[in-house]
């Protein structure tokens, strides 16, 4: 009797049976049944189960199959031993050194990039856990070395990698014909970057049969990379039946300073906005100063203005904002004799018209860093402008921003932050404002401080001891941990990194 057969009998029970099948050679080792015991059959089954279980335990499963081909040699060196011992727990997502999983992933990604920049690879003993971190495959792949590449190939060959199917290559032209909407858009964006004219031609070819949502996405993609050659297509887009396409077309055209659309909008702006002078009072006469005023005449749209996106259903305020947003900031002096930054500060009689939003949008559309900096200098608080700002203007914005808005401002600053920005934010955190800023600022600070400064800031934060307030204490502890571990990696790997890499690269910037 096999163990399986015995298990089948045990599942049903011996209560309804009068005997058990013979167990073969093992019977010689089993005690005989006690006829007087009403449960003799159950005990006999247990005796047999014990004997067969031991036999079963002594026969571990085999694993027949083909051997794997041997791995090639690994030409690249391993990182220093301290780096390896730090990488191990981070790859295993051990919460010991850094409490937050997102911080661990960030620091690990940064460290892996440093290892790659240092021309090193992961030690073989960490490859298993590294390949298990599919969330970090992008960062693990460059440090796999020959052994890791080989291991990954074995796993993939065995269907054991478990990673989802690799994302389709956005450069594959097949995607445009056969891919999903997302894949087609990915191809289109890729094609716009490589050959914008051909990409537009591809869009034109499918335009009529494409649904409104897809056309809207295509027009939005064109707006992101618009060139003068797209003007005619975008002009047609202003007549599209889908509102999203019309809005996208207007957006795209307003990014072309020499387009007819911008000329039309500039002419309307000149009708609606003017800069005049007030009759000076006695003091101003003495100071020989004039007072310039902003005069706004609500714009009443005609049919062509409606086509250009200044619809009659819009409020006067919204129509003015759209109008201003379509005028390149650099054009204002020639239109009204004042710069964009001056327009937002000019005196206005009641009712006052708000131009800041529209001018901010135009500044962004034209990537006009000069105007962005001037607007901030004029006291404009528009966090959308942060990516265009100089370090000095960024610092000014940080100084102006209420603590609750600090995180939003910093969100737009490229990482790693300039040293001056890191210092300004750090001083806010260690100063009296530390308990007022939102927790994410601590996280952003710990991650965005330039690597060469991480050790110093870690030490400074440690020097704060145990401040009042549980949240601040937690934030302080987390930020200190992140900075400490970043500094450890940096200290260990710095001798192997090119100086330019150490000073200029943005190891954590792409996360």
């Amino acid at each position: 009797m096999t163990f399986d057969a015995l298990a089948s009998i045990a599942a049903v029970g011996t209560g309804q049976r009068s005997s058990l099948p013979p167990v073969g050679a093992l019977a010689a080792y089993l005690p005989g049944p006690d006829e007087a015991d009403p449960q003799a059959l159950a005990y006999a089954l247990l005796d047999s189960a014990a004997a067969l279980a031991v036999v079963r335990r002594g026969t571990p499963a085999a694993a027949p199959g083909e051997p794997v081909p041997p791995a090639p040699d690994d030409p690249f060196p391993e990182p220093p031993v301290h780096v390896i011992s730090l990488l191990g727990p981070l790859l295993a997502d051990d919460a010991g050194a850094i409490r937050l999983a997102s911080d661990r992933a960030y620091v690990l990604a940064e460290a892996l990039r440093l290892v790659a920049q240092a021309g090193m690879r992961l030690p073989h003993r960490l490859l298993g856990v590294a390949l298990a971190r599919r969330d970090l495959r992008l960062f693990v792949q460059p440090v796999l070395g020959a052994r890791g590449e080989w291991l990954l190939a074995q796993l993939q060959g065995a269907g054991l990698d478990g990673a989802t199917t690799a994302a389709a290559d956005p450069g594959d032209p097949e995607l445009w014909d056969t891919g999903t909407s997302e894949e087609r858009l990915a191809w289109f964006r890729h094609a716009r970057a490589v050959d914008p004219e051909s990409a537009r031609a591809a869009a034109v070819a499918v335009w009529k049969e494409s649904p409104a949502a897809f056309r809207t996405e295509l027009m939005s993609a064109i707006a992101e990379s618009v060139t003068p050659a797209d003007e005619a297509f975008c002009e047609q887009g202003l007549d599209d039946r889908a509102e999203g396409v019309r809005v996208g077309a207007a957006d795209a055209l307003s990014r072309l300073p020499d387009s007819a659309y911008v000329a039309r909008m500039a002419a309307r702006a000149q009708e609606a906005i003017a800069v005049g002078e007030l009759e000076p009072g006695a003091v101003h006469r003495l100071l020989k100063r004039t007072i310039r005023t902003l005069q706004v005449t609500p714009y009443e749209p005609d049919e062509t203005a409606v086509r250009d996106g200044l619809g009659r259903k819009l409020s006067s305020k919204e129509r003015l904002t759209r109008l201003v947003a379509a005028v390149p900031p650099a054009m204002w002096p020639s239109l009204v004799g004042a710069t964009a930054a001056e327009l937002v500060t000019l005196h206005q009689d009641e009712p006052r018209w708000e131009l800041v939003g529209g001018i901010g949008t135009a500044t962004l559309r034209n990537a006009d860093a000069t105007t962005a900096n001037l607007l901030v200098a004029a006291g404009v608080m528009d966090v959308r402008l942060v990516p265009l700002l100089s370090t000095a203007a960024t610092l000014a914005l940080i100084a102006q921003a209420p603590t609750t808005l600090l995180g939003t401002v910093l969100d737009g600053v490229a990482t790693p932050w300039p040293q001056e920005v890191a210092t300004a934010v750090g001083q806010q955190l260690v100063g009296t404002n530390g308990h007022q800023v939102r927790p994410e600022v601590w996280t952003m600070f710990a991650r965005s401080v330039p690597l060469r400064l991480a050790g110093g800031w870690a030490q400074r934060l440690r020097g704060l001891g145990q401040p009042d307030g549980r949240t601040v204490r937690n934030m302080l502890r987390d930020a200190t941990s992140v900075l400490t571990v970043r500094a450890l990696f940096a200290d260990e790997l710095r001798p192997f990194l090119p100086e330019t890499s150490w000073q200029d690269t943005q190891p954590g910037g792409q996360l």
Partner: protein, 438 residues
């Protein structure tokens, strides 16, 4: 004199990663003064946030350590930092022994000299001896009663059919076995109780759950029968008592003849159950070729003994517990500690390893696993396995297949591990760089 530690050993000593990171951060010369080393003592003073530096003293031979800081971590970051500095070769032999280290060392020696007197079992009166014998007899009666109840329960289950097993039933029985002081059986029942009951429909109902449950019921019945037998050989009787849950006094084990060797630490596994954490450390005698299992216990959450570091070696006397096969041991006198230990192992073919596992099962049918080294190469398809030169293979259990494959690159290697019913659980591999624990 012992070798200088490797940084990995310091890492292994850290109570948690945070302490390790803090220790590494302090492992720079700036905050340290008055450092020195004279085997086995290592000492130094670390300037912290206070005005007085913290004094640190370490005995690297054990290791044991003392720091004047108020940290509740043990060892603290100052101890770890000083060890890192030493392990990295930044502290040379020499230096003036600090007052703190000298006092600490003297105190320990004084305590150590008195220890034998404290450790020696106190003379007991006849009345105490009689009471002790009565307690032992009482426990044996309880165990007899408990195992009889167990056997009746098992027969009832088999009579009614395992398909009617009530979820949690084994938990209730386990509690009664605790009352009867049959703790080994209670543990096995709790393990069984944790397994989800499989589907109980169809011709071959229950699948793996049914097979595992019946096998375990059979082994528990065998244990119950073995307890009633008065004619068992001493070794087997000791094995039976061990599985039932009788403990053997440490002094008794240490009084057994020692087995001296340089023992390589070839595997370590930690587990938590109820309120107890257990560390299982496998040792391999580099001269004798014997294997030994050293167990450490602690209250859950408290650090476990870290004196045996995977990949390192210790020249020591081991004392084996009674029962067969002799695996569980206590570390007696330690003569030397080796950061790395180089040795050859007579790794077996798969068939030889399985034959040894079977012989071990013949001695102890309740044995969970058996240590061995197999010479083979890892493979992945159709299932993870280790195959030897003759083409025989065994399935790889646990999660170490990837690290094993990564370390060996598909080449044959001597792999240490535990053979168990599921297959082979690799714990370490001998590479060109020495022993690497998986």
């Amino acid at each position: 004199m012992a070798d200088r530690w490797r940084p990995e050993r310091v890492t292994a000593l850290a109570p948690d990663s945070a302490s390790d990171v803090a220790g590494r951060r302090l492992a720079i010369p700036t905050p340290w003064s008055d450092v020195g080393y004279a085997y086995p003592l290592l000492w130094g003073a670390c300037q912290g946030s206070g005005s007085t530096p913290y004094s640190v003293a370490i005995d690297v031979s054990e290791p044991s350590y003392r720091c004047s800081c108020p940290s509740h971590k043990f060892p603290c970051k100052h101890v770890l930092a000083l060890l890192y500095l030493w392990a990295e070769g930044r502290i040379d032999e020499g230096g003036t022994l600090s007052r703190f280290a000298a006092q600490w060392s003297a105190t320990r020696h004084a305590a150590g000299e008195e220890k034998p007197a404290n450790d020696a079992p106190a003379e007991r009166t006849e009345a105490q001896l009689a009471a002790s014998a009565a307690r032992a007899e009482q426990r044996e009666e309880r165990v007899t009663g408990g195992l009889a109840e167990l056997d009746r329960w098992l027969a009832d289950q088999v009579t009614a059919g395992l398909a009617h097993t009530r979820p949690g039933a084994m938990g209730d029985l386990a509690a009664r076995m605790v009352d009867a002081q049959v703790l080994g059986v209670a543990g096995r029942l709790r393990d069984l109780n944790r397994r989800p009951i499989g589907s109980r429909t169809g011709a071959r109902a229950g699948g793996a759950w049914l097979d595992d449950t019946l096998a375990e019921y059979g082994l528990l019945h065998l244990l119950s029968r073995a307890w009633t037998r008065t004619d068992l050989p001493d070794g087997l009787r000791a094995t039976v008592r061990n599985h039932i849950g009788f403990t053997v006094a440490k002094e008794t084990v240490l009084a057994s003849p020692p087995v001296a060797d340089t023992w390589a630490v070839v595997g370590m596994r930690d587990s938590d159950e109820e309120q107890v954490s257990t560390r299982r450390v496998w040792l391999y005698g580099t001269t004798t070729g014997r294997y030994a299992l050293v167990l450490f216990f602690s209250s859950r959450g408290m650090p476990l003994d870290a004196s045996l570091v995977p990949g390192s070696g210790v020249t020591a006397d081991l004392h084996f517990y009674p029962g067969g096969p002799a695996l569980r041991a206590l570390v007696g006198d330690t003569h030397d500690v080796h950061q790395r230990v180089r040795f050859e192992v007579a790794a077996s073919a798969v068939s030889e390893a399985i034959a040894r596992w079977r012989r071990a099962l013949a001695e102890d049918p309740w044995l969970g696993s058996y240590p061995t080294a197999i010479r083979g190469s890892a493979r992945l398809v159709p299932s993870p396995g280790l195959a030897d030169e003759a083409g025989d293979s065994v399935r790889l259990a646990g999660g170490a297949t990837l690290p094993l494959l990564a370390l060996t690159g598909g080449n044959p290697a001597s792999v240490f591990g535990e053979l168990e019913p599921r297959g082979f659980l690799p714990t370490a591999v001998l590479t060109d760089d020495g022993l690497v624990v998986l």
